[in-house]
Amino acid sequence: MSHLLDVTNLKTRFRTPEGTVYAVNGVSFHLEDGETLAVVGESGCGKSVTMLSLLGMIPIPPGEIASGSALYRGRDLLKLKDAQLEDIRGKEIAMIFQDPMTSLNPVLTIGRQITEALCVHTNMSKKQVREKAIELLKAVGISDPYRCLDEYPHQFSGGMRQRVMIAMALSCEPALLIADEPTTALDVTIQAQIVELVIRLRERMGMTIIWITHDLGVIASLADRVIVMYAGFIVEEAKVDDIYDDPRHPYTLALLAALPRVDHRRKQRLKSIPGAPPNLLIEPHGCPFAVRCEFAFDHCREENPQLVSIANEHQIACWLDTKTGKPR
């Protein structure tokens, strides 16, 4: 199987005046051509930093990539120079962000921003670029694209802006789209529209997608595989069906239990995970989830479990076999 992206043992740190923040602690995963990978986890567990590290977009200093490699089509993204990365960003790998309200430059027209990647990465003429921009706006479902080109972001609603962001990211038809919580800031109906739009575009353009979210509900219809991250570690990796039908890591179980469900209404309160994600300023010792884990035992606090394969394409990092309730 050809891997589009192969990330091994990525470690990202930030040296701040308060101390070193261990943001990403040895993350390894791979991406196959054309698949959609979802990355889930609470806020501040390293999802975004992982992706930003791959694209060379974390500020250095204070940021630092302590180790790891990220092979993209045979090239190690972590070792490329800035100019080479600029060449890849937007053309080969594009990224869309969480908050469409702040992700567009308020003083530039929509047309100017959509055509930016095309102007940077291709030699198209002004007229061709404009035509392509109109085509893109149509593709993301914006009515009256001719008028939109000359308008400014403040004249657009949140959903429309996110569509514009997607059009921007897809303008050079990248092989890989990294979507960093693209629906979090939108209301539910718009969320559904955006997810549907991305699915449609994925089929049309044959893109590979990394979809970062903390909403397990969104990814069911979208993803092929799911990575669950916690405190900068991958704690579970499985096919999307397995995550719902056969979750193994206590953190995944807890996340799923916290989902509101139509068939459970009023019978019980929503279950929440006690506590908060750990302070990443302290170098992790033992399993990072141990303090919040209802199954934790002594060994959990002493040694951090490695990711082990428990079934076909299903890996977890836990000392406990949650199915049998016995330590491994």
Binding site: L55, I96, P106, E116, A117, Y152
Partner: protein
Amino acid sequence: MPGSTPEFVMADILRPTEAQHLLTPDVLEAPPLSLSKMAWLRFRRHRMAIFGCVVLILIIMYSVGGSLFFSEAYANKTETTKRLQAPSAEHPFGTDTIGRDILARTIYGGQISLLIGLTAVIVQVFIGVIIGAISGYYGGWLDSVLMRFTEAILVVPQIFLLLVMAKYFGGQLPNINLFGRTLSGSVVVIILIIGLTSWPYLARIVRAEFLSLKENEFILAARAIGTPTNQIIFRHILPNSIAPIVVTATLGVANAITLEAYISFLGLGVRPPTATWGNMLEGAYNYIETAYWLWLFPGLLIVLIVLSINFVGDGLRDALDPRSRAI
């Protein structure tokens, strides 16, 4: 209200109020105003700014249009028999100590003063924006070096710097031709030294803007599509910080005109015969009581232009303030 019937009250409520009347379907359905339209609406309400604009335009018309009526040779022609004449029909603003017509000289002097004001600001904006942008965007040691350099220039009084530089660079300079006019080479020197000593304030303003703007998510988004750094700086961040730059530059024009007047008054500025409002004042202090017209007219023009530019700058500050969304 006593005595009013319920029917009357009802009718009163149903009658469209003034506010409702203003919100016609046209207004409600019109697209949101663009940033520049909103700025213009706010600027228009600033009465003193409009007044400043009008005065400014009149002064520009005076000094540009006036050259249609008087030749430069006439403005520089000396007639020793007619020295220190009071305003009369022949010389409406009187004549100076060597018999030159003051009206014609204020016209040609105005061109030079305006030229110096505008071009010195261009120099100032160019240096200030580049240093501020690099400093704010890159940060780190580069920022430290550039900012210490900026502060080093700031701590020396500008007037002192100007006088030293004027004295140092203002030797014998060849005349230059511009738009069909022959100017003393000292004009270029004055422009450069005013520009070279005025940029630190602007550099600090631009740096502060860049420091906050670069943290915006749209900068991250722009980087994510591979926009090169120079484009991020000049096409993404700079347009966002244009408001304070425009305001500072506008006020800088007034400042440059005052500075030119100051050093010319001290005899270190633009060399005669090229007239400026500043060097027309040179020597006038000997005649403050006996020949008021020597200082009144150029002085008045300096006061008017500085005042009106400052009003315009104030108006622009209010109009371009992105935090003020009120129309």
